[in-house]
């Protein structure tokens, strides 16, 4: 696949998490998926994971970088992603002429082809084409958070080969991570408007990331770190069956995953002081 120049200088600066493997080409992406379904057969008891949802304004840069990180991590989380804006806006030739697309009905591929034919040099140099190329290998197109119906099956995403689709067939997630406070506000507000008909709790985090390629890379890495911490805590809780397991633990180990969330976030925040975070427990 196309070499992504933005990744050059980040490969060496990943102290906390092992660098995720480069996104596999779409042709070869089917075998790993097959693998994961067969491993599901072998150990159905062990491959439970938290389900994630990443959100930014246009579902293009920050949320998709995080989508990539989460879906291609060694743990390969189930992940879906959205934008909260009214339209997908990409930079155009000048500040007053952005490229505007509608959510849910435009594919990344379409955007890629259109911008490629418009001015390849410009959109190559500002990184838009590289970004869209990454995105079109991850999923079909940008989706709008406000149009998402939680609980609506997402089988078609699975059949389209979207990355992170395995595990999100049910259309529900355990954790939503937004990339901007505005988006967090929009998500929390929209969940209230949706009326929480599923009665299912969901942790909504915000990790404030500036909207540019470099910060998106840094932020994506930090989000993966947060996801790993959360997932480990959740799995630990799940492994304690019944009362016996409950009695064995002591102190913090006895706390449930949900109770640990503020603590996990605080620890994470200490480590990532430049990505101000926010959290709440909302309902799907």
């Amino acid at each position: 696949m196309a070499f992504d120049p933005r990744r050059v200088n980040t490969g060496s600066t990943t102290p906390q998490t092992p660098p995720p493997p480069p996104p596999p080409p779409p042709e070869s992406s089917t075998p790993p998926e097959m693998d994961s379904t067969t491993s599901q057969d072998e150990s159905a008891l062990d491959n439970w994971k938290l389900k994630f949802c990443t959100v930014c304004a246009s579902n293009n840069n920050r949320s998709m970088e995080a989508h990539l990180r989460l879906s291609t991590a060694p743990t390969a989380f189930p992940v879906i992603s959205f934008g909260t804006g009214s339209l997908v806006r990409l930079p155009g030739p000048s500040i007053t002429q952005p490229n505007v697309y509608s959510f849910n009905t435009t594919s990344y591929n379409h955007m890629y082809e259109e911008l490629h034919s418009k001015d390849e040099r410009l959109y190559r140099s500002n990184g838009i084409l590289n970004m869209l190329d990454r995105n079109r290998n991850l999923k079909w197109g940008p989706e709008r958070f406000q149009d998402w119906v939680p609980g609506m099956p997402r089988l078609e995403h699975l059949s389209k080969g979207d990355k992170g689709a395995i595990g999100t067939e049910g259309g529900v997630v355990d954790v939503i991570i937004t990339c901007e406070e505005r988006c967090w506000d929009a998500v929390v507000d929209d969940l209230m408007n949706k009326g929480s008909s599923l009665n299912r709790p969901v942790h909504v985090f915000n990790v404030d990331i500036k909207d540019n390629h470099e910060e998106a890379l840094v932020g994506g890495k930090a989000i993966l770190d947060l996801a790993n911490r959360l997932n480990n805590a959740a799995i630990t809780q799940r492994q304690r069956h019944g009362t016996e397991g409950w009695a064995n633990g002591s102190g913090p180990a006895r706390q449930s995953f949900d109770e640990l969330v503020p603590e996990i976030l605080a620890e994470w925040q200490e480590k990532n002081p430049n990505l101000p975070a926010l959290w709440t427990l909302a309902w799907l």
Binding site: V100, M152, S256, A266, L278, T280, A282
Partner: protein
């Protein structure tokens, strides 16, 4: 019950396949549910129970499965849930999913019972489950308790009256107490309503806990929006409870990062809920209070967490084109596009450069023909209506033209130089001298075109060598003084300029407190301080040499420091009520400087320097001058001004009190005088004796002062006044008591 692991794994695979099937087509749900209930029942293995509970939760919340079918499935499932709960089930994950399922089932079953009053059995089962959950709620683990919060909210929502959208179509109406017929066989409205009210209190109880659990608070806040929106009878109660809730008050030290995360999250969630309510119903009677509460939450957050500084500042410029483009709502109002014609051909001129119109008549019109006042009349309203985007476009267009023109001219010049035609560019009437080295290249194309020439020309430009300005002639003393005065007058003009600016920085100053640095932010105060120090400290050492021949100094032109003092003096007198604070700053600086000078002089004397070192007390001179300047203008209501003056000056001398006493000459200002002295007596103990003496003088000299001054003296000098008082009462013109022998006192403050 004890199945081998392989078997369980196989079953889970099969179950997953079944789940895929129903996700693809919801019509299979009834079949699958009845098929799996025996497999995942209460006595199955943990993995299967978990799977089953998850699946049930998913089934009854699925937007794909119509409510009618869910209602039909409900009774069977209820049986299984009840058995599982009663076992009792202890696994958190299973309980979580079961409570979620029950929360989804409750409105469905309620509706079912409304329509089928005969199915009493199902309702009893539901009730048993409900009571079981409510009873055990507090002993559940945290994740299950969170789900119980949602269940509570569901029950409250169902058992409170909602709106009947359309009485003719009962199917369309939302499930609420309002759809229950008055004489329902099973559902007793008053009973249900009372229960809901109690459960609401339990739900809101989380806001009254001594120590808040952020999880439960957030879970509650986030599920209240539908209740507020659809249940007007209880909306106000809920909102009032939230308005009384201050997250920061419900946590206790130590404020660990975890606690801070919790407080911030509760505050932000409460804010989100209130904003949601306001947005849905902008005419709500409590909107004002809610807005105040939102602001207070924001404030307390700043105080409590202090992590505002942690957030990165705004980028100096957009890091890519996206930032601003995204924030401006462009699709809403498309800015009108300005038609930019290419620049007129021929040699460039300012005229052509700035002409954007293509109208010949307009561009050849000579504006100078118009009288200037008419131009002003036209221009001002026009400027007020200038469209921002049009202006930007026009400016950009001119800039582009300018860059193009300069680039072309550069190129032409370079070519000329290459062709050995040095120096004179006679055809260039536009910018003869200017070498625009710093004009940025606008586009790579042009850059490429210019690039080959540049390296050859570059050395030529560099070899011009450095130009050194000749030393200026030395200033004469008068000139230096003149320059000094003009510098001072400029600083004064800065005070005036700063005065007119609104004082927006007050807030930040207050926050600085003791860590504030004098004159660090360039406001009025800073300039005043600069001036006073210029007058006092800066020339202090320089003057000391002249002190020897003081007589000659007087003849010479006034020293710069004195001229500043004179100016300051006049500046303060111009509006002494408003500028008294400047005076205070100044006098304090003077006094401090005098002290420093004295101590230096003393140490020099100790060092054995022969020369008589005379330290002039500027403070004494100027405090009296200022007071003398102010006193004639004080009227009888200016007590605040005089008291402020007397209280804030660093040292009160006998001369000052005498000046104050002179106020008593004016019968109208007698009280002013007495009150000012009384203030000093009460609140400036070092000057007390001195002031009492003065007051006695006043008492004895001016008859009008006796009623007021008598009271003060009676309190502070009873031994002296009482006899006089009595004498007064008898004769009205008794001679004054003997004056005190203390005539001067310098309070060491």
């Amino acid at each position: 019950m004890a199945q081998p692991v392989d078997d369980v794994a196989n079953q889970v695979v099969q179950l997953n396949a079944a789940r895929k099937l129903v996700l693809g087509d919801a019509a299979f749900y009834p079949q699958i549910i009845s098929g799996i209930l025996p497999i995942v029942g209460p006595h199955a293995r943990l993995e299967l129970r978990r799977w089953g509970a998850d699946f049930l939760a998913e089934t009854f919340s699925s937007p794909m499965l119509p409510p009618v079918q869910k209602q039909q499935l409900a009774p069977n499932v209820l049986q299984s849930i009840q058995e599982t709960l009663l076992l009792p089930e202890t696994d958190s994950a299973v309980l979580q999913s079961l409570v979620q399922t029950v929360a989804s089932l409750y409105p469905l079953l309620f509706r079912h019972i409304v329509n089928h009053p005969d199915d009493k059995q199902s309702w009893e089962k539901m009730n048993a489950i409900k009571q079981d959950i409510l009873r055990r709620m507090d002993s559940f683990t945290c994740p299950v308790k969170i789900c119980c919060v949602k269940f509570l909210q569901r029950v409250v929502q169902v058992q409170t009256s909602g709106l009947i959208a359309d009485p003719r179509r009962p199917d369309q109406n939302e499930t609420s107490l309002a759809i229950v017929p008055r004489a329902h066989a099973v559902l007793a409205i008053p009973h249900l309503e009372a229960e809901a009210s109690g459960l609401l209190d339990r739900l809101l109880g989380v806001f009254q806990e001594e120590t808040s659990d952020a999880l439960l608070v957030n879970a509650t806040l986030n599920c209240l929006a539908p209740l507020i929106r659809t249940r007007s009878t209880i909306a106000n109660k809920i909102i009032t409870t939230i308005l009384d809730f201050y997250p920061a008050k419900h946590v206790h030290p130590p404020f660990t990062p975890t606690v801070r995360v919790s407080v911030k999250s509760m505050e932000r969630t409460a804010r989100a809920l209130l904003i949601n309510v306001i947005k849905k119903n902008p005419s709500h009677p409590l909107v004002g209070k809610m807005q105040v509460h939102i602001e207070r939450l924001m404030q307390s957050r700043v105080e409590m967490t202090e992590d505002a500084s942690r957030k990165r500042g705004f980028p100096v410029e957009p890091t890519d084109g996206l930032d601003n483009a995204k924030r401006v709502r462009l699709d809403a109002v498309a800015p009108p596009l300005l038609q930019i014609p290419p620049m007129a051909p021929g040699p460039a001129s300012f005229d052509k450069l700035f002409t954007l119109t293509q109208d010949i008549g307009l561009s050849s019109f000579d504006v100078k023909q118009l009288p200037s006042d008419l131009v002003v009349k036209i221009a001002v309203p026009l400027l007020a209506q200038v469209n921002q985007s049009m202006l930007t476009q026009a400016v950009d267009a001119i800039r582009n033209r300018y860059e193009t023109v300069t680039k072309e001219q550069n190129l032409a010049r370079q070519q000329q130089q290459q062709q050995q035609h040095p120096a004179v560019d006679d055809d260039d009437d536009y910018e003869p001298e200017y070498q625009p080295m710093d004009v940025p290249e606008s586009g790579p194309e042009e850059a490429d075109a210019v690039a080959p020439e540049v390296p050859e020309v570059q050395p030529d430009l560099v070899s011009l060598g450095s130009f050194v300005l000749p030393q200026p002639p030395p200033l004469s003393e008068e000139e230096a003084a003149e320059v000094g005065r003009s510098a001072v007058s400029r600083v004064f003009s800065m005070i005036n300029a700063a005065e007119t600016e609104p004082s927006t920085k007050n807030k930040s100053q207050q926050q600085l407190g003791f860590s504030r640095l004098a004159g660090s932010n360039f406001d009025r105060e800073a300039w005043v301080l600069l001036l006073t120090r210029l007058a006092t400290r800066a020339p202090a050492g320089l003057e000391s040499g002249d002190k020897l021949g003081k007589g000659q100094v007087g003849k010479r032109s006034p020293m710069i420091s004195d001229s500043i003092r004179e100016t300051l003096y006049r500046y303060i007198l111009e509006d002494f009520r408003g500028r008294l604070s400047i005076g205070m700053t100044w006098l304090n600086e003077e006094w401090y400087n005098d002290r420093i000078q004295m101590s230096t002089a003393a140490s020099r004397r100790d060092d054995g320097e022969e020369s008589e070192i005379n330290v002039q007390s500027h403070y004494d001179t100027w405090v009296l001058r200022l007071l003398d300047g102010i006193l004639p203008y004080l009227d009888s209501r200016d007590i605040k001004v005089i008291v402020r003056f007397l209280s804030e000056i660093p040292e009160v001398t006998v001369h000052i009190t005498q000046r104050v006493a002179s106020l008593a000459k004016d019968p109208e200002r007698v009280n002013l005088c007495v009150q000012a002295l009384m203030y000093l007596i009460m609140f400036r103990p070092p000057a007390r004796e001195m002031c009492l003496n003065t007051l006695e003088d006043v008492y004895q000299t001016y008859e009008e002062s006796r009623p007021a001054a008598g009271k003060v003296l009676a309190k502070w000098r009873p031994q002296q006044t009482q006899p006089t008082e009595q004498a007064n009462g008898a004769t009205e013109s008794a001679p004054p008591a003997a004056a005190q022998d203390t005539t001067t006192s310098t309070p060491a403050e």
